[in-house]
């Protein structure tokens, strides 16, 4: 599964990218009196794999929902390729739960990703291609209830990929999976990202996952970015290596002793 990835190390930085750059300027988000995000500034270059880590309730999921266009910031601006009105079209989100329609077969579920106006026959063909990418094309005609948890998330990934997104927002999509399935899914996400070149933004509270996948790790605490750490390790990354462990403990330290309000960029 990981063979082609090793060769492509660093190649994604130079190849013509399908990803779009993402810029957040002074983004605040409040729900009533509670401020969840307090002035976030962030630039993600096209094709970068950004991971966002933080404790529960730090505002990282809210940030992702804003990027995916599910919510609007209270103040501030979020722009994809310099334009702020296109989020819902250029960015796709993968949720914590698979959120498959139980009454639609697997291929029809993937076709949802092409939107309501998609031509039916063409949509199913493209769905099958996307299912082939995640290795589930032989389950295309089945009901979602017959799939395992990991398979359901792979269908959800195919649904997010079928429209060739420029930005993929991942909201802890692997959180509910068992350890082995989770590692497999991380490899799959990395592989798809390397071959498609979209900009990725993964929210997670699992530091190992963040280090495994991220070109760059942003730590969020109390609604603000408190650390911004580039990760320059060859892919695929080996969990056991000394370098990996060094980055991992650096991030963990940041999370455990939050330096509130200090921007480290």
């Amino acid at each position: 599964m990981t063979m082609p990835v090793a060769i492509e190390h660093d190649a994604h930085l130079s190849r013509p990218t399908a990803g779009a750059p993402l810029t957040l300027r002074g983004v605040r988000k409040s729900f009533g009196a509670k401020t969840v995000l307090n002035g976030v500034n962030l630039h993600v270059p096209a094709g970068q794999f950004l991971t966002v880590v933080g404790r529960s309730g730090c505002g990282k999921s809210t940030l992702l929902r804003l990027v995916a266009g599910l919510d609007e910031p209270t103040t501030g601006e979020i722009a994809i390729e310099g334009v702020s009105e296109v989020r819902a079209r250029l960015a796709r989100i993968m949720f914590q739960e698979p959120r498959l329609l139980p009454w639609a077969r697997v291929d029809a579920n993937v076709a949802i990703g092409l939107g309501p106006a998609a031509d039916h026959t063409r949509a199913l063909t493209r769905s099958r291609d996307a299912l082939a990418t995640v290795g589930l094309v032989d389950r295309a005609g089945e009901w979602p209830s017959t799939l395992s948890g990991g398979q359901k998330q792979r269908v959800a990934l195919a649904r997010a990929l079928v429209s060739d997104p420029r930005i993929l927002a991942l909201d802890e999509p692997l959180g509910a999976l068992d350890a082995l399935t989770r590692i497999e899914m991380q490899r799959l996400v990395e592989q798809v990202w390397l071959s498609n070149g979209f900009t990725s933004m993964l929210v997670t509270h699992d530091v190992t996952e963040a280090v495994t996948l991220g070109d760059r790790i942003v730590v969020i605490d109390h609604g603000a970015i408190t650390a911004d750490i580039p990760v320059d390790l060859p892919r695929p990354r080996r969990r056991g290596s000394a370098e990996f462990a060094r980055v991992e403990s650096k991030i963990l330290e940041r999370l455990l002793s939050p330096a509130r309000g200090v921007f480290d960029r």
């Binding site: 995916a68 599910l70 819902a88 329609l101 949802i112 939107g115």
Partner: protein
């Protein structure tokens, strides 16, 4: 589809039955449910033939069958059966249609819900059969009266279950579909309607029960045709065989309607794990 063994939900049932199954005892076949009714009819016939039950109190199954044959030949049975079925269906379509429409509207629109739901709940608490005297004053004893009362009866179960079905759609699924650009009619067709359908079909099954009950009541009180009328006429002439025949017909019609909804459920809700692989 091709491989039942891959579907845990589908294979669990037969295997569980197989484990507890004793030789010679049939399980889960479609005709199993008919064994008990058949035995009762045999016992009933035996009691009648042996003279344990007086004919004027309870005619034998044979006498009921003979009455059915006699009335079929005269055309009376089919005509009354047709009239009753038609009344039931028209009442169901009118009352169910309005219930479905209002249920959907109130499930989707807060405004509509806040304006109408209180009134509907108030009317619901009046037993609709209590309106029969008033309805007779309004419509006389012609078709309108029976259709109105049947439609009113079936309206509530369909309204309530449609409302519940539409209200309880998983908001996460709606958010997911919205994030892919689904709004308005496409969102309704792909997410809200299929999510509400199981509940709507439960409403339909309740409604069918209410439908027959209401119709029988209306026909025995004020009618000049139909099965209820046939039974009331028979009472005038002490024809217990025709009375029993009418009661049996209602039982069969009710069972038939219920089976029809079950078929509909299997077809429309094939995605549900409990239904997958079921016959």
């Amino acid at each position: 589809m091709s491989d039942f063994a891959e579907r845990p939900a589908a294979s669990a049932w037969p295997r569980r039955f197989a484990a507890t199954r004793r030789p010679g005892v049939p399980h889960g076949r479609p005709w199993t449910g008919w064994i008990l009714p058949a035995l009762i009819i045999v016992a009933w016939q035996a009691s009648a033939s042996l003279g344990w039950i007086a004919d004027t109190i309870m005619p034998s199954p044979y006498a009921v069958a003979a009455a059915a044959w006699r009335l079929t030949l005269s055309g009376e049975l089919l005509q009354n059966l047709g009239v009753s079925t038609l009344r039931a269906l028209v009442g169901l379509v009118v009352g169910g249609g309005v219930g479905l429409a209002l249920g959907l509207l109130n499930g989707l629109s807060r405004l509509s819900f806040s304006v109408t739901d209180t009134s509907v709940q108030m009317i619901r608490n009046v037993p609709h059969l209590a309106l029969i005297p008033l309805v007779i004053v309004w419509f006389g004893i012609d078709e309108g009266a029976k259709l109105f009362i049947v439609a009113l009866g079936v309206f509530f179960p369909i309204y309530l279950n449609t409302l519940h079905g539409v209200r309880s759609v998983d908001p996460q699924l709606i958010e997911m579909a919205r994030s892919y650009g689904f709004r308005g009619w496409p969102l309704f067709r792909r997410v809200i309607w299929p999510a509400g359908l199981p509940s709507i079909l439960v409403g339909l099954r309740f409604a069918l029960g209410v439908m027959w009950l209401t119709l029988i009541f209306a026909e025995t009180i004020a009618a000049q045709s139909g099965i209820g009328y046939m039974a009331m006429q028979a009472r005038e002439f002490m024809q217990t065989d025709v009375i029993v025949l009418s009661i049996l017909l209602y039982a069969l019609l009710g069972k038939g309607a219920d089976s029809l909804v079950k078929v509909l459920e299997h077809w429309a809700l094939a995605w549900r794990p409990t239904l997958q692989g079921a016959p």
